[in-house]
């Protein structure tokens, strides 16, 4: 698999403030890459450098084989599409006007532009909104138009900066399905930042940034194994006996409203515990560790990989 984004020892400083402190990572072609971190962690700065909107202080960045240092801006920009956190299309233009005006900036032939427009319009179901002014659209409709604009030149890499923030669950699902489908069908690489950890959980690779440094990276499963724990929640028929059993077996647990949350290393570990404690149980539930747990753990503990 080809590395479509290569970042090595990237630094960015604004005067004395170091926003990005020597980060390195690669993104494989056709994958979904999640770039996570709290606000101010350096995500946006990194994305702006990758999108050629900002100059780095030092380090190496290669996008689709082009070095951002050299005179490659046009080639890099032809390779990328960007959906910004805010909606940036023109309020006074219709959706179609917005997308076609932007499309003309990519030196596409008229036929190619029309063909691409048909493609994005179908993919993002723009037929009902394409003649509406952007100002008249709902949040979800705007997002569809924003994504269509980013895809009008059929880029190889799509940067999504918190694309579903503020959207209702139904629209989020629609947007997300469209992106996933597009990624799979056209082997497009998706570089995502998001605050919704369930979105990051479907990524092929995750990098977590804190204070301008990478503090964790890996596949969602690997990160969950390392930083999140499954929980076995049980209610005992006899609380005293149940609690005694937990203490005798040296299991870590917390109690709230009579529900005992026992930390287990995996679902299979939960099964082992359940088999042993079964006679004492009134009810139980196994709760899988989530990316939220991973993120909160890393942000609170600050453990480096």
């Amino acid at each position: 698999m080809k590395s479509i984004i290569q970042v090595e020892n990237l630094h960015k400083a604004y005067g004395q403030h170091k926003a990005v402190k020597g980060i390195s990572f690669t993104v494989e072609e056709g994958t979904l890459f999640a770039f996570l971190g709290t606000n101010g962690a350096g995500k946006s700065t990194t994305i702006e450098i990758l999108c050629t909107l900002l100059q780095k202080t030092s380090g190496t960045v290669r996008i689709n084989g082009y070095d951002v240092d050299e005179n490659n801006q046009a080639n890099i920009r032809k390779s990328i599409g960007v959906v910004f956190q805010q909606s940036l299309l023109d309020d006074k233009l219709t959706v179609q006007e917005n997308i076609l005006h932007r499309g003309k900036m990519y030196s596409l032939s008229k036929d190619q532009l029309q063909q691409n427009y048909q493609f994005v319009s179908t993919y993002l179901q723009l037929a009902d909104i394409e003649q509406k002014k952007y100002s008249a659209l709902s949040g979800g409709q705007r997002r569809r138009a924003d994504i269509a604009r980013a895809l009008i030149h059929r880029p190889q890499i799509l940067f999504l900066d918190e694309p579903t923030t503020g959207l209702d669950p139904q629209t989020r699902q629609f947007v997300w399905q469209a992106i996933k489908r597009l990624q799979q069908e056209s082997n497009m690489t998706v570089f995502l930042t998001t605050h919704y950890m369930e979105e990051a959980a479907v990524a092929n690779q995750i990098v977590i940034l804190k204070n301008g440094e990478i503090v964790a990276e890996g596949t969602p499963d690997a990160l969950k194994t390392k930083y999140a724990y499954d929980q076995l929640e049980v209610v005992f028929q006899n609380i005293a006996e149940g609690e005694k059993w937990l203490q005798q077996n040296e299991l870590t647990f917390t109690v709230r409203n009579g529900i005992y949350s026992i930390r287990v290393t995996s679902t299979m570990h939960a099964l082992t515990v359940l088999k042993q404690v079964e006679p004492l149980l009134a009810s139980f539930e196994v709760i899988k560790g989530t990316m939220d747990d991973v993120f909160i753990h890393i942000m609170h503990e600050g453990e480096a990989v």
Binding site: L53, L88, L89, K92, K104
Partner: protein, 291 residues
């Protein structure tokens, strides 16, 4: 090239569809027309009556004086209004969106300048046609073909100067608030600086110098000369050369500097020279900022 054309077309639509922006671009002009209707016309006619008898031709000449002033003002206010798109794009971060496409900052900036020029010229041309209709409707003569071409030529220069002048000013503006302040200041001052609100001769010496050294006022002078040449001859048919010259100086039809009357060629050179200097300065500032 297609990218640039598309950007200019987009800027143009954005300006035309913002009715408030269009209205405020024309507000100074509306104010001048109102002031003219209330007292400016009468003031001039009264002044002329002290030299020669006021006739319908006098009214026409005074109308032409107003029209020339309006046309020079409109070039400034509409081009500045068109540059509002550039500020909106900075504040809304649309400029960042453009820059994810293979297009340079210089090309984006050029699209704003070209749009300002087109908007300025279209509005000036429409205003010119409207002014001709007004002059003919109030008993004046339609300009002949050569005179019309001359006026259109001056309008092109006037819009070109106004575009570079406003491009230079807008380079120092980065927010809607600052831009609103700038439009208010320019809108208020432009009538004075082009000698339209108050006749040149009634102003104190330093104000007269300020106007003379303000390059855009030279477009007013050229336009007045083009519009009023025939009617001045008709109105002041019986008056002495000194009286005609005094009227021309007092009403800013010609500038007098150190006892010499400035020629049209001098005004032309000032306009072209200022346009070039402002364009070069703007490019240098822009390049330095986007290193």
């Amino acid at each position: 090239m297609e990218a640039l054309i598309s950007l200019v077309a987009r800027n143009n639509k954005m300006f035309r569809r913002d009715k408030t922006q269009v209205f405020f671009s024309l507000l100074s002009i509306i104010i001048v027309i109102a002031l003219y209707g209330i007292f400016l016309q009468k003031m001039q006619v009264d002044a002329i009556e002290q030299v020669t008898k006021a006739t319908p031709e006098t009214i026409t000449m005074v109308n032409e004086w107003l029209v020339a002033g309006l046309l020079s003002m409109i070039a400034v206010t509409t081009t500045l209004g068109a540059f509002g798109i550039a500020i909106q794009d900075i504040e809304s971060k649309s400029a960042a969106d453009f820059l994810t496409a293979p297009i340079s900052r210089a090309k984006i900036q050029l699209s704003y300048v070209l749009n300002a020029f087109f908007i300025g010229f279209i509005f000036s041309f429409i205003a010119f046609i409207s002014c001709e209709i007004f002059i003919v409707a109030t008993g004046g003569q339609l300009l002949n073909g050569t005179e019309m071409m001359k006026v259109i030529g001056i309008l092109i220069l006037s819009v070109l100067l106004a575009s570079t002048f406003n491009m230079f000013l807008v380079l120092f503006v980065h927010s809607q608030n600052a831009y609103s302040t700038l439009t208010t200041i320019v809108g208020t001052l432009i009538g004075f600086l082009c000698g339209v609100y108050v006749p040149f001769g009634v102003l104190p010496g330093f104000a007269q110098n300020l106007i003379m050294y303000f390059p855009i006022s030279h477009t007013t002078v050229l336009l007045r000369d083009a519009f009023m040449q025939n009617s001045i001859q008709t109105v002041f048919a019986g008056a002495s050369n000194e009286q005609v010259e005094a009227y021309k100086i007092n009403f800013g039809v010609v500038y007098e500097m150190n006892g010499n009357l400035l020629t049209s060629t001098t005004s032309l050179l000032i306009i072209v020279g200022t346009t070039i200097v402002l364009a070069v300065l703007s490019i240098l500032i822009f390049k330095k900022r986007n290193k």
